[in-house]
């Protein structure tokens, strides 16, 4: 109690020592993967800041990343492997040793592999090591592998990869520094959390017009110059109307279309024929186009073709064909897409549609920019500058989480192609290793003859089908995968369908499995639809045998999540500050348009618990099971050093490994090169990332830029340096449609034909979200959505002492008029009912929301006791999930068959197709949200009642 060290104004310590050690690694408070600078004092984490040198976040750090300390020290961290002792879902466990855990698991998996490998379903959720886990699954021999893409945003990935060879989802980015007009669809936060915020900051700074199309006006939309509060699920119509306006005023970049897209390619017009709607090709399989100078049909790929974009032509075989552009014009100039005619459905004023179209055209063509960097195109022709159409777009789950999301995503890419704004200055830019061929060359593996006991599969479980021949179905057309991905129900399910696994496994449809092994996905809670139902399925027993319907569940989590309670064996993972990880170009890259990039995590603090990194555990299991590639000839483990060992020494193809930087014996090679024993040291010296700038002349038109294409081949990004031609018209879709129309050996079972025929349109189409076509919309008039809170990552934010102070309960936000209609006030309780279920929640009233829409923050509601919170935590009592209202299956059709509640093309979970009604709840009902579930008791010590974090650092400084 003296005046020292502080006295009045002077003498306060303005230069305290912050840390005795600073380490650079990669954040994993979300999937954005920013670089972080971790300050350690006395072995404790004192402060985590953004790494100023890191290309992803340039020194900034979001709310989640800034709360990393509270995740690192959360009482919810698992401490030791657990064996279930109580019934599933009770959360009663006993701690066991790792050896026991691993022996048990490898015992189970060994017998599966030697009998029927399909009986292991490995689904890895929010996985940043899919290059490893996917490889592990095919070495094990099961097709039943996927990560979270199916319930996340496969529509964006597939929509992009089947159109432009890149995607909004992480494979490309707006040219923030040059664009003059930014159109954003359906984004609350995105994976690129920090880059988007940095970008929006730049736009604001440059006074660029920013338009946000979103039923809800929060976050990014709140700073947009213009907010278009569209009706959910109708963006496709809006975009097609924009396309119509641009076409009718000839504000499209024909040269661009002719050079870089398949717009001029001739499409066979022979209704009823097996190849109707396919591209006309020459003997060598080259697509054809009409050459206006020669007045003849020529190879559309030849550099000196002079294509005409419209007009009926007669093919050698006397059949007629028209260019893809021709078909596109005929479709979108149709009255049906006139602003007046889409305005009622979309809720967007015709004038607004016209104005946005005008502004897009103006920015693209009147505000054209030139970069005077000479470049050489694929055909060796030199260009003295790079022309920019400075219109940038970005879209995410507002588009993808609808059953019409794949086509809507394609429609947006089509709009970009028409404006010539893909990979040009000021437009949307590819991040290496993208662009890839459209679609990428990988095909899914898992056909009946590709799955054999004690044998690896000949290829990866996931890929990009281009026709019926690539489907994973048996001779009767039934799915061979447990999630029914790549079946006639969802042929282009490029990321699998994790959301269907539990339901299908429980129903034994298409077949029962033995073991469900999951990693990093809270599948009994926020990442599942029909949450209550799924919880029952996980703990449901077969009446006759008394066995669980899903016999064994193995789960790897780092924290006491809701899912942990349903596992028979729990494999406790490390935290992101305690382990090695690699953010690989072979997985979800963190490149930027101007540089190829990858990164690592390495342990910056030592675990204080008996936990192991899941990737290391997986390699250990692989070795115990003797999986090819994971053991040496003598049967010893191939990667005794665990994941770090694998990161350095694994080669997917000669010279190509998980990390592209500092390869070769002496670390002087990049991209391709033999393993370098010191690779990790080099990464750590370089602050845990590798950034390899692309030369100026390769930075744009990557799809047709000779120097870039050749460099990409060197780096192993591409197999050949042929130009990548974007597909306004998608032939793969037509080939599925033709099968549905009765052509080819492999045809869909009768019951699926109509659906395939309807939705496999080679040109982007719009149809109403599927759920609303199967229910009475008068009964369920409202759309119900969720949004990501910027400061919470799904379910994990809640265990974080700081983040949960910001949000620990959620409300259902409704528009002011709707509130008046129902006589509702802020904080009143309502019943929300869908065709599938009912919940009781509190409402919040706001202005900035589409009149037919209600919404809430995602994943705030928690099960009582989960995450090692006190049972009466507000997350459990006042928080809620919308998931209880969302069915994983569409309402029953006449024939009793139920499709997944997903996009018919890609199997993307249709979270945002949900329709509901609301009614005021009776007074007295309003104690807590409904439903409530039996509380969990964490097998962990309770958290502190008072948290004085930071006190210790002050004492170390000699303060009180």
């Amino acid at each position: 109690m003296t005046d020292q060290p502080n006295n009045w104004t002077y003498g306060i310590d303005t230069s305290p020592e912050v840390a005795d050690d600073v380490r650079y690694t990669t954040c994993y408070m979300c999937a954005c993967r920013c670089g972080i600078k971790v300050h350690l004092k006395d072995g404790k984490v004192r402060y985590i800041q953004g790494n100023p040198n890191h290309p992803v976040n340039r020194g900034v750090l979001c709310a989640k990343g800034s709360a990393g300390i509270m995740t690192q020290y959360a009482p919810a961290r698992l401490r030791k492997p657990l064996k279930r002792v109580g019934p599933r879902g009770s959360g009663e466990f006993e701690e066991i040793e790792w050896e026991e855990a691993l022996e048990t698991v490898s015992g189970w998996l060994g017998s599966i592999r030697s009998s029927d490998p399909r009986k292991l379903a490995l689904f890895t959720g929010r996985d940043q090591s899919q290059a490893l886990t996917g490889w592990w699954a095919s070495q094990f021999g099961t097709p039943n592998y996927a990560a979270h893409g199916g319930f996340c945003s496969v529509n964006m990935a597939a929509g992009g990869l089947y159109s432009i060879g890149g995607a909004f989802w992480e494979f490309g980015e707006p040219d923030w520094d040059r664009t003059r007009y930014f159109l954003m669809f359906g984004i609350a936060e995105d994976h690129d959390s920090n880059p988007i915020k940095i970008g929006i900051g730049k736009l604001k700074n440059r006074g660029v017009k920013f338009v946000s199309v979103n039923p809800i006006r929060t976050g990014y939309s709140s700073v947009a110059d213009e907010w278009i509060g569209i009706r959910p699920g109708t963006d496709g119509l809006f975009v097609m109307s924009l396309i119509r306006e641009l076409l009718l005023s000839d504000q499209v970049d024909l040269e661009y279309l002719a050079r870089y897209t398949n717009a001029p390619w001739l499409v066979i017009q022979a209704p009823g024929a097996a190849d109707d709607g396919m591209f006309a090709r020459d003997a060598d399989g080259n697509p054809l186009c009409w050459d206006g100078e020669q007045g003849a049909i020529v190879n559309a790929l030849s550099a000196d073709a002079k294509p005409v974009m419209v007009g009926e032509r007669t093919l050698a075989d006397r059949r007629t064909a028209v260019p893809a552009f021709h078909l596109m014009v005929e479709r979108y100039t149709n009255e049906r897409y006139a602003p007046e005619n889409v305005s009622e459905t979309t809720g967007v004023e015709p004038d607004t549609i016209r104005r946005v179209a005008a502004e897009l055209a103006h920015a693209a063509f009147k505000e054209e920019i030139r970069i005077d960097t000479p470049w050489v195109d694929w055909a060796g022709r030199e260009h003295d500058c790079m022309i920019g159409r400075p219109v940038a777009m970005h879209a995410m789950r507002g588009i993808s989480a609808h059953a019409n999301g794949f086509h809507t995503c394609r429609a947006i890419h089509l709009l970009q192609m028409l404006l010539g704004s893909i990979d040009c200055p000021g437009g949307f830019r590819y991040k290496p290793p993208f662009p890839k061929p459209v679609p990428p060359g990988i095909r899914p593996t898992g056909k009946p003859d590709q799955v054999k006991p004690n044998a690896p599969m000949p290829g990866p479980p996931l890929g990009f089908p281009v026709g019926p021949q690539d489907l994973l179905v048996d001779d009767d057309g039934n799915p061979t995968r447990i999630d029914k991905a790549f079946s006639w129900e969802h042929p282009v399910a490029a990321h699998g369908m994790m959301q269907s696994v539990i339901t299908n496994a429980w129903r034994g449809d298409p077949y029962p499995i033995d073991t469900l092994m999951m990693f990093m996905a809270n599948m009994s809670w926020n990442s599942t639809m029909n949450t209550g139902g799924v919880m029952d399925m996980l703990s449901d027993r077969d009446e006759t045998t008394g066995e669980y319907r899903i016999p064994r569940i193995i789960y790897a989590d780092a924290y006491f999540s809701e899912m942990v309670a349903y596992a028979d064996i729990v494999l406790p993972d490390t935290t992101y500050l305690e382990r090695h990880d690699c953010i690989s170009l072979l997985d979800r890259p963190i490149s930027e348009a101007d540089a190829a990039q990858d990164a690592i995590r390495y342990p910056v603090v030592a675990p204080d618990r008996d936990v192991r990194a899941f990737q290391t555990v997986l390699l250990d299991l692989g070795a115990r099971l003797g999986l090819p590639g994971m053991v040496n000839e003598d049967g010893s483990a191939r990667y005794p050093g665990g994941y770090a060992d694998y990161m350095v020494n694994h080669e997917r193809a000669p010279g190509i490994g998980p990390l592209a930087g500092w390869r070769g014996e002496n670390g002087d090679l990049h991209g391709r090169g033999s393993p370098n024993p010191d690779q990790l040291e080099r990464y750590i010296e370089n602050q845990s990332f590798w950034s390899y700038p692309i030369p100026e002349n390769q930075r744009f038109y990557k799809m047709a830029n000779k120097a870039y294409l050749e460099w990409a081949v060197e780096m192993g990004f591409l197999g050949s340096s042929d130009p990548i031609i974007m597909q306004i018209y998608s032939e793969p879709l037509q080939s599925f449609r033709n099968a549905a129309r009765g052509h080819g050996e492999i045809q869909p079972p009768q019951q699926h034909r109509a659906r395939i025929d309807a939705y496999f349109d080679p040109l982007p189409m719009w149809y109403p979200p599927l759920e609303e076509t199967a229910i009475n919309t008068a009964e369920y008039p409202l759309h119900a959505l969720t949004q990501r809170p910027m400061h919470m990552y799904h379910s994990w934010g809640t265990m974080n002492a700081w983040l949960r102070q910001i949000t620990n309960r959620n409300r259902l936000y409704i528009g002011r008029n709707l509130a008046e209609q129902h006589g509702l006030d802020e904080g009143d309780w309502v019943w929300v009912t869908s065709h599938h279920g009912r919940i009781r929640v509190q409402v919040g009233v706001m202005d900035g929301v589409n009149a037919n829409t209600v919404w809430t923050w995602n994943a705030i509601g928690k099960r009582s006791g989960a995450w090692n919170l006190k049972p009466d935590g507000p997350e459990a009592k006042k928080g809620f999930l919308l998931n209880h209202l969302i069915s994983e299956l569409l309402p029953t059709r006449d024939n009793g068959f139920r499709y997944a509640n997903a996009d018919p093309v890609t199997g993307q979970a249709a979270w945002y197709d949900l329709r509901v009604q609301i009614e005021k709840s009776e007074p007295g009902e309003d104690d807590a949200t409904y439903p409530q579930f039996g509380g969990l008791k964490a097998p962990l010590p309770e958290g502190p009642g008072i948290l004085r974090f930071g006190d210790v650092f002050r004492r170390l400084r000699g303060g009180r």
Partner: protein
């Protein structure tokens, strides 16, 4: 002593751009993170894993909806922290001298060793910038990161308030608002920065840049009348391009 310095040579403070702030809470959490172990450590959290978690924060992010006379509304995100007022009653009301404004740079601080925890300063602050640490029995508040901005142990370019350094949209700016030539002063002049609750005459140092007018109608659009329909829909529209020969 708690009399306020007549005129501080520097007026260090923040400028917050409400036109750019997306309300992400990064600044609030990063502030909490830095300061939890910083000059006023700890920033105690009560019941952190229980029913009503409540901790000490120096920066809080509100979100509002503003409706103009024509009934058009917009969302505005609003970070709130100490404004380091020139006429800081939070200082003059303090009976112990624990609450003070630095003569050299105008930063308003609390000397915890002197603080008796009477809370009067928090009553005197219109802006809710002071939060009482019940567990420690003393008043706490934004220090303008006084232990960062002069910190010789930090690299030059990182000698910034944590909230400013971390803001992903660069909506926060730090500098000397006493110097009309400083970047922040110019920014305030150019964007018409405002004081909060002017009517109370606390003379805040921090300034807020109001949202720019929205550009949501034709009047404000450069593209006015730009889109002229040229393709007729009476016959097949494709004919319009029939004679266009392109090259690859």
């Amino acid at each position: 002593m708690t009399a306020l310095p007549q005129n501080t040579p520097k007026k260090l403070g923040l400028v917050i751009d409400l036109d750019t702030c997306v309300g992400c809470h990064a600044c609030a959490v990063n502030c909490k993170e830095w300061n939890a172990g910083g000059h006023m450590a700890p920033l105690t959290d009560l019941d952190p894993y229980g029913k009503e978690p409540d901790g000490v924060w120096f920066n809080r992010i509100h979100s509002y909806e503003v409706t103009d006379s024509e009934g058009r509304s917009q969302t505005v995100n609003f970070p709130r922290s100490c404004l380091h007022c020139e006429d800081a009653a939070c200082v003059t009301v303090c009976p112990t001298g624990a609450s003070y404004k630095r003569e050299e740079d105008g930063i308003v601080l609390v000397n915890e060793d002197k603080c008796i925890g009477c809370k009067l300063c928090s009553w005197a602050c219109p802006y809710g910038a002071r939060e009482f640490d019940t567990d420690q029995g003393v008043m706490k508040k934004c220090t303008l990161c006084v232990d960062r901005i002069y910190n010789e142990n930090l690299p030059e370019q990182e000698r910034l308030p944590a909230c400013v350094m971390t803001c992903p949209t660069s909506a926060r700016h730090f500098g000397d608002l006493g110097d009309p030539e400083s970047d922040v002063s110019k920014l305030v002049a150019e964007r018409g920065g405002v004081n909060l609750m002017e009517e109370l005459n606390y003379k805040p140092t921090n300034k807020y840049l109001p949202p720019r007018p929205r550009r949501r109608d034709m009047k404000s659009s450069p593209a006015e009348g730009f889109l002229e329909p040229v393709v007729s829909t009476s016959e097949n529209p494709v004919l319009y391009w029939i004679d266009r020969v392109l090259s690859r």
